[in-house]
């Protein structure tokens, strides 16, 4: 058992969801009863703002600040788009959350909707999470029967409903603006603000996009307060807990709820069971495929937004992908680039043309056809990704740039030996 308090996973059980009754027994829907129709919506936003809740979808944007960007005199109806696309390689926390405590997410959505006077939410779910979509649909129905959802919630003036939107499956749909296009049945290319979705989003109405884990924090913060939320974290500036996914070369891959600010080494060694006997840590991606390699030098880094930024990295989705000394990082990066090049929506040139170009150079290096001049070429191409239309391409080049920063020797070895020192191809 964890020595740290469980918040989002407090009702988690092996192999089944927490039922509505179980959720209620853990003070579930208490915040809803206390706030909806009883306290002004602005108070929800204020409490979440005080607690400093930052978005868990990858960018870390403060939740309350996003809701406040919906103008008080903005148009109606307003929408909440809930991001459960979760296609960042290494990331599976939103699935774990849905399969643990769906009503926590539902309550969080209703309260968020109340905060900026939305009347409808869509939960955007990817195809391989069909089982999650079914759970959500069933539990939404239970919530409706209990009077938590639908017209005049708990006898108040506030009406709000939620439906599940199934995606056809593409990574770019997780990007906030692409997600809105996908929801509207348009080709899911991103759009560049302004106007921001909080002004003109779904069908040109104010729309907030939030990640599922972000929303799940809301009922707890409203029940327990901002101070409590801050105390959950181990880092000085941090707040709350985080769902960390650990995968790759570890004994016990999985999703662990642990404090913000916990040391990376503790997550890997204690909770994920360390690396298998005979394997030694080489590097990890600390926050999903679009973060940078983190080396042994920073093995004890505190897992928080600012502490990772201080070492030139990002918390991202806090999905830790662990690589050992026997794993070739050129081949790993090639695989990641293959993913990003395939998932590029094709809208802008630095991404559509640039990513396959970098992939091909990496392929040549890995397969013994590399040349010295490829290294500066790759660096140059990576810089171009910052001219792209959305954050997919800069995310894609993060592992590549950091490969050249920390493992240039390994890349050069491939070139000088004219083969991969790790894999026989």
């Amino acid at each position: 058992m964890s020595k740290y308090p469980l918040v989002l996973f407090q009702n988690r059980q092996p192999n089944r969801i927490a039922t509505l009754d179980e959720y209620r027994q853990s003070s579930g829907y208490q915040a809803l009863e206390d706030f909806i129709g009883k306290r002004p919506p602005g108070e929800v936003t204020a409490r979440i703002g005080e607690a400093g809740l930052r978005g868990r979808g990858g960018a870390g944007f403060p939740a309350a600040k996003k809701w406040l960007a919906v103008p008080a005199d903005g148009a109606f109806p307003r929408y909440l788009a809930v991001n459960a696309d979760e296609m960042e390689p290494g990331t599976f926390k939103d699935r774990m959350l849905i399969h643990a405590d769906p009503h926590l997410i539902i309550e969080g959505m209703i309260l968020a909707g109340y905060a900026f006077a939305a009347s409808k939410a869509f939960i955007f779910v990817r195809p391989s999470y069909e089982s999650s979509a079914v759970i959500l649909e069933t539990e939404l129905e239970h919530a409706r029967h209990a009077g938590y959802l639908g017209r005049n919630i708990l006898g108040s003036e506030f009406s709000f409903d939620i439906s599940v939107h199934r995606s056809g499956g593409r990574y770019i749909c997780g990007e906030g603006t692409a997600l809105l296009n996908a929801l509207m049945g348009k080709r899911p290319n991103p759009t560049k603000p302004p106007p921001y979705p909080t002004l003109k989003g779904l069908w040109d109405r104010p729309t907030v996009v939030n990640n599922i884990e972000t929303l799940a924090n809301i009922p707890h913060i409203l029940r327990n307060g901002a101070e409590w939320f801050k105390r959950l974290a181990l880092s000085r500036e941090g707040m709350g807990t985080k769902l960390y996914c650990v995968s790759g070369r570890v004994n016990n891959p999985g999703c662990f709820e642990l404090p913000i600010g916990i040391r990376l080494s503790e997550i890997i060694d204690e909770f994920a069971g360390g690396l298998p006997a005979g394997s030694e840590f080489k590097a990890c991606l600390p926050g999903g495929a679009s973060t940078r390699y983190l080396t042994r030098e920073h093995y004890d880094v505190e897992m928080d937004f600012d502490t990772l930024a201080a070492v030139g990295n990002r918390l991202g989705t806090a999905a830790i992908m662990v690589f050992d000394r026997k794993t070739c990082l050129v081949a790993t990066t090639l695989n990641l680039l293959q993913f990003f090049a395939r998932e590029s929506c094709g809208w802008c040139t630095p991404c559509r043309e640039g990513l396959p170009y970098i992939r091909d150079l990496l392929w040549r290096i890995e397969y013994g056809e590399g040349r010295e001049e490829f290294i500066p070429m790759i660096r140059e191409m990576c810089k171009f990704s910052w001219n792209s239309y959305c954050a997919l391409a800069p995310g894609a080049t993060s592992p590549v740039e950091s490969l050249l920063t920390y493992f240039e020797d390994e890349v050069r070895e491939h070139i000088s030996q004219r083969k991969c020192p790790y894999n026989a191809h």
């Binding site: 979760e86 296609m87 960042e88 390689p89 290494g90 990331t91 599976f92 699935r95 409808k120 869509f122 990817r126 195809p127 391989s128 999470y129 069909e130 089982s131 939107h165 199934r166 995606s167 056809g168 499956g169 593409r170 990574y171 996908a182 929801l183 509207m184 049945g185 348009k186 080709r187 899911p188 779904l202 069908w203 996914c245 995968s247 790759g248 070369r249 891959p253 999985g254 999703c255 495929a289 999905a319 992908m321 690589f323 794993t327 790993t332 695989n335 990641l336 293959q338 993913f339 395939r342 998932e343 929506c345």
Partner: protein, 163 residues
């Protein structure tokens, strides 16, 4: 021709949606499971029901991983080839399926039962290597486990035929 019942169901769902186009992917999933894939006829039916031009619908149909514009088998196997499954030797999964079913990646078995395709991370990295078949996930794959899954699906298909 689309059966009236299915047409009615889809029309109702589309009519009660926030906006007809919001239902585009759902409608394509339904039509796809009726026609086997998004055939030209399915596309025409869908664009009629959704009030979208064929081009607008084509923009979606060609974009998504799980919408098939070409004939596919009854069971579409998507093997994850992203980083974590790759580390857990996803190629051995692909090779095993290829040899057991005598099918190439991108191809469909002669009996029309299985199509084999790659897919990017399906969000089950804790159970790598993993795959989906008709949107159902199977993880921690071993040759024995794959054989059991394939046998079960073949039996299921045979049962459906003889019913």
């Amino acid at each position: 021709m689309l059966p009236d019942e299915l047409k009615k169901l889809l029309s109702e769902r589309i009519a009660s949606a926030e906006d007809p186009r919001e239902q585009a992917v759902d409608a394509m999933f339904e039509l796809q499971s009726y026609y086997g894939y998004m055939s030209d006829e399915a596309m025409t039916e869908a664009s009629g029901l959704l009030g979208m031009t064929p081009l607008e619908l084509e923009e979606l149909a060609t974009f998504y991983d799980h919408i098939y514009r070409e004939p596919v088998g009854r069971y579409v196997i998507h093997v994850c080839d992203s980083a974590i499954c790759w580390m857990h030797d996803h190629l051995s999964v692909v090779d095993h399926i290829r040899s057991q079913l005598n099918v190439e990646v991108g191809g469909t078995t002669a009996d029309g039962l299985f199509t084999l395709l790659p897919v990017c991370c399906i969000g089950y990295c804790d159970r790598a290597p993993a795959m989906t078949i008709n949107r159902r996930v199977f993880g921690r794959l071993t040759p024995e486990k794959i054989d059991r899954i394939l046998t079960r699906l073949k039996d299921q298909a045979q049962f459906a035929e003889t019913e």
